[in-house]
């Protein structure tokens, strides 16, 4: 059972359900906007996440339906945290093994180590196929928070 470090990583305003997008860029921007809205990052971090996609491709689609968009620690990161955009319609990222994507997480960190507990708890949640399925079908933020705890 994951503890509260994971829930705390999702600041108020960092989770949205039923997000409607029509491209992978819009999907990443949605997760980035949620980081900005919840006070974690500035818009420059969203641009950096989009640059990662342009430079390295959709490698961060690391499991079926799941993208973890992120960029390097930088001055665009105000505090470490996570966001989650649950898409109303899945979007193709171009990752043949794991497309289409329905859960777009945004991740920002201040350094390489201090968010490890959060990532460990996130890994625990995402290793549970039933919980992933429930996240994909969640209709409220309260549902999401319950599934993450």
């Amino acid at each position: 059972m994951a503890g509260s470090a994971l829930l705390d990583a999702f600041a108020p305003g960092s989770i949205a359900v039923g997000v409607s997008v029509s491209s992978r860029e819009q999907a990443i921007s949605a997760a980035g906007d949620l980081l900005v809205a919840s006070g974690r990052t500035t818009d420059a971090y969203t641009d950096a996440m989009l640059a990662v996609l342009a430079d390295l491709g959709p490698y961060f689609v690391i499991a079926p339906s799941i993208a973890i968009a992120h960029a390097r620690p930088s001055e665009a990161v105000l505090s470490a945290g996570l966001s989650l955009a649950v898409l109303s319609q899945p979007v193709v990222f171009g990752n043949s093994a794991n497309d289409p994507v329905g859960l777009v997480f945004g991740l920002c960190a201040l350094d390489h180590d201090s968010h490890l507990e959060v990532l460990s708890q996130l890994a625990e949640v995402l290793t549970d196929a039933e919980r992933v399925n429930n996240l994909l079908n969640a209709s409220t933020e309260a549902d999401i928070r319950r599934l993450l705890s």
């Binding site: 390295l56 490698y59 499991a63 620690p73 093994a97 794991n98 960190a109 390489h112």
Partner: protein, 90 residues
């Protein structure tokens, strides 16, 4: 034995992969160091590892490394990790 998980930035996906690789290695009773590094580190001169684990998308960027490369499609599928690590290590 040095096993390295590589991703673009070294803060997210490679860290998640490292965690699950360590979990599977413990199940297999194998002692090894697992590190998470970014692409720049992995491509730098003098980089040394026995096994590099990464996503299929990043494999083309890692051509020329002496290490064996294991492609991982589903980071949270412990069975996939176990099958691939067993094939390489045992």
């Amino acid at each position: 034995m040095r096993i390295v998980a590589v991703c673009g930035m070294g803060i997210g996906t490679s860290v998640l992969l490292k965690m699950n690789v360590e979990k599977v290695l413990a199940q297999l009773g194998i002692t090894a160091t697992v590190e998470a590094v970014d692409m720049t580190t992995a491509r730098a001169a003098g980089f040394d590892a026995n096994i590099v684990m990464t996503t299929p998308d990043l494999v083309p960027l890692l051509q020329g490394l002496a290490a064996e490369i294991i492609e991982v499609e589903h980071f949270f599928d412990l069975e996939e990790l176990q099958t691939k690590l067993t094939k390489s290590l045992l």
